[in-house]
């Protein structure tokens, strides 16, 4: 059963998840901040766009620390890469078109919904929010349908 559910092992997934939880918890204990990652994109756009939407305090007022957090994300992966990584740069076989178009939907949808995998998933569920739990079920269900449809259309299994 374990082999069927987790053919590539379970420990690294669980360990990675726990570390993510420690990071999110640290930001809450130190600063009282509930930090989801999709807001970074809108708060960073407040530097580039004068549109009142991006200048609202919840985005403009948080853009500096969200940038530090994003920088931390990059450095965290870099540290893993240096200590235990494969020794060569990570790469992906997913096509540039899929990344770009998928990204468009991810950006629009996550901001419209005000949460993504971390915002609704980690922060929302940990806040015991019913609407966030529903959002998680919806995006996971739709993503599974989409990913399987892509396998069917392209004939390529990831």
């Amino acid at each position: 059963m374990l082999q069927f559910l987790f053919p590539s092992g379970w420990a690294p997934f669980l360990m990675g998840g726990l570390l993510i939880g420690v990071g999110v918890s640290l930001m809450f204990i130190c600063f009282g901040r509930v930090v989801g990652m999709s807001s970074f994109f809108s708060s960073t756009l407040s530097w580039a766009s004068g549109l009142p939407y991006f200048q609202q305090p919840s985005l403009r007022g948080t853009r500096v620390w969200r940038l530090w957090c994003a920088l931390g994300l990059v450095l965290g992966v870099l540290a893993w890469q240096l200590w235990q990584g494969p020794g060569s740069a990570l790469s992906t076989d997913v096509s540039a078109e899929r990344l770009l178009i998928g990204g468009l939907f991810v950006g629009f949808g996550a901001r419209m919904s005000n949460g993504c995998t971390s915002g609704h998933g980690i922060c929302g569920l940990s806040s015991l929010s019913g609407p966030s739990a529903l959002a998680v079920l919806i995006f996971m269900g739709v993503a599974m349908i989409t990913a399987n449809a892509m396998v069917w259309f392209t004939g390529v299994r990831p």
């Binding site: 092992g9 993510i20 766009s49 992906t92 990344l99 998928g102 989409t146």
Partner: protein
């Protein structure tokens, strides 16, 4: 001094998050797509592990501490049950299923040298911008 603590604290919080994303393999779109096509359920453990830690801290810290170590108060995340939350989640799902990339790994993956993820990053910025435009129009009406 406050700025320095803010910088270091958020940098460390983000770095733990990024390290966890790399450790679990979630920075790789392939790992996400193998979960979404039901070949490997490891991602459930990533979310489960993260929530297991965070739910304890989110629920207990505001009871046990008067205030955060370096700030005035604890934020409370409130999500309304409305059309935007649900339709947005569905659109996000389409994008996640297409690309295997969500916001955290899109940013973090660059640290692993995966420059191809810049395509996703540009897409997400563009999507977030369009959402801002759309929300501004919707408000005017």
């Amino acid at each position: 001094m406050k700025c320095l603590f803010d910088f270091l604290g958020m940098l460390l919080g983000g770095a733990l998050f990024g390290y966890g994303l790399a450790y679990s393999g979630m920075v790789s779109p392939e790992v996400v797509l193998r979960f979404l096509t039901l070949q490997d359920f490891g991602l459930m453990l990533v979310m489960g592990g993260a929530v297991a830690v965070t739910v304890v801290v989110y629920q207990l810290a505001p009871r046990w501490l008067k205030r955060p170590v370096l700030a005035e108060g604890f934020e409370k995340r409130v999500t309304p049950l409305d059309r935007n939350t649900l339709v947005g989640a569905a659109l996000f799902g389409v994008g996640w299923g297409l690309s295997g990339v969500c916001p955290g790994p899109a940013i973090a993956g660059l640290g692993g040298g995966n420059l191809k993820l810049l395509w996703a990053l540009v897409g997400i910025f563009a999507g977030a911008y369009l959402q801002g435009l759309w929300a501004s129009r919707a408000n005017k009406r």
